[in-house]
């Protein structure tokens, strides 16, 4: 498997990721009502082994696992949605899978506007806040006057 180059795949990859990284309570607030759906794979908690690379660039090694919850659903109209989200929140995984399915239907623009756009904006804002605090701790060096003849 490779990183998608196809634009539709890239778009789907982006929304699945935004849904996965959303805070569960935030996603629940943005998507209070869920359409009828059938579980292809009921929400299940498991782990993913996270890998690093030696010195950041070399051979991979196993760093340790993280908890994830996955879920797959099918809507009445036939659209299939998948989710694999960090943590152990089954409602989060279910909502994310339903949102993925809805993004493949006619109401995608509504989900994009009402769910994904706010999630992306909030994620960007959280990231920007942390980066701004980090930037404030960046060291500015001053060259002190050396004891040489002026």
């Amino acid at each position: 498997m490779s990183t998608p180059s196809h634009p539709e795949t890239a778009a789907r990859r982006d929304w699945i990721s935004a849904l996965a990284k959303a805070r569960p309570e935030r996603l629940a607030a943005l998507m209070p009502d869920l359409p009828a759906h059938e579980m292809l794979r009921a929400p299940e908690i498991g782990t993913i082994m996270v890998q690093g690379r030696i010195s950041g660039t070399g051979a991979p090694f196993n760093l340790g696992e993280m908890t994830v919850t996955r879920c797959s659903v099918q809507l009445a109209g036939g659209a299939v949605g998948h989710a694999c989200v960090q943590g152990r929140d089954k409602a989060h995984a279910t909502r994310a899978a339903i949102a993925d399915a809805l993004m493949q239907t006619d109401i995608a623009p509504r989900i994009e506007a009402e769910v994904l756009t706010p999630l992306r904006a909030e994620a960007a804002s959280t990231r920007a806040t942390r980066s701004a605090k980090a930037a404030a701790t960046r060291v500015e060096f001053f060259t002190m006057l050396r004891g040489e003849d002026a």
């Binding site: 579980m39 292809l40 794979r41 009921a42 299940e44 797959s72 099918q74 036939g78 299939v80």
Partner: protein, 188 residues
């Protein structure tokens, strides 16, 4: 798409525990036939073989599909439900296929003296599975058991490799039995 993505356990914790118990019992009592339920794999794979795949395989157990079992539908089904990587026979920890499609058995790993467990378990699809035919004796069998096997010689050669060798799960419809490498098979 639903036909392929469906057919997994509806209640994985409970159903996989029951299925695991059935497989464990089958391995512990070679020749005894067990009825299993809960999987609906794509045709032509049997319910029992589907149950074995769902229960025993995951992303860390390389799987080999032999013959008609190596279908697009089954590949997708396995990818979705178990995530088992599909590999050539000599890398497989599990293999699935009809008896004749799995031949020659020498392609599969039989383990190493220090790690006899690094060997393959073959899930063998059979057209019939009855408690008659070859005589089975050995660990887990009180006196003797009878099982309709596709042939005798292959299982006898496998027994001769002990403690190395292959283990077999024999499936037919919703029924399964097992034949670990420790079982002595005779044509009587």
């Amino acid at each position: 798409m639903n036909a392929i993505l469906g057919g997994g356990f509806a209640d994985p914790p409970t159903q996989s525990a029951h299925a695991f118990r059935a497989l464990l019992e089958a391995m512990a009592r070679p020749g005894r036939i067990h009825e299993v339920t809960g999987a609906a794999p794509p045709a032509p794979i049997s319910v029992a073989a589907g149950v074995a795949l769902l229960t025993l395989t995951d992303s860390t157990t390389p799987l080999h599909l032999a013959g008609p079992a190596d279908s697009e539908a089954l590949r997708v089904w396995i990818g979705f439900h178990t995530g088992a990587p599909l590999v050539p026979a000599d890398e497989a920890q599990f293999a699935l296929g009809h008896w004749h499609d799995l031949q020659p058995l020498s392609r599969f790993r039989i383990g190493e003296p220090a790690y006899p467990d690094r060997s393959a378990t073959l899930i063998v699809e059979l057209d019939q599975l009855e408690s008659q035919g070859a005589r089975l004796t050995g660990p887990g069998i009180r006196d003797e058991a009878r099982l309709s096997l596709p042939e005798i010689g292959a299982f006898r050669s496998n027994r001769a490799l002990f403690p190395l060798g292959l283990d077999f799960i024999l499936t037919c419809g919703s029924r399964l039995a097992a034949l670990p490498r420790s079982t002595i098979v005779e044509d009587i």
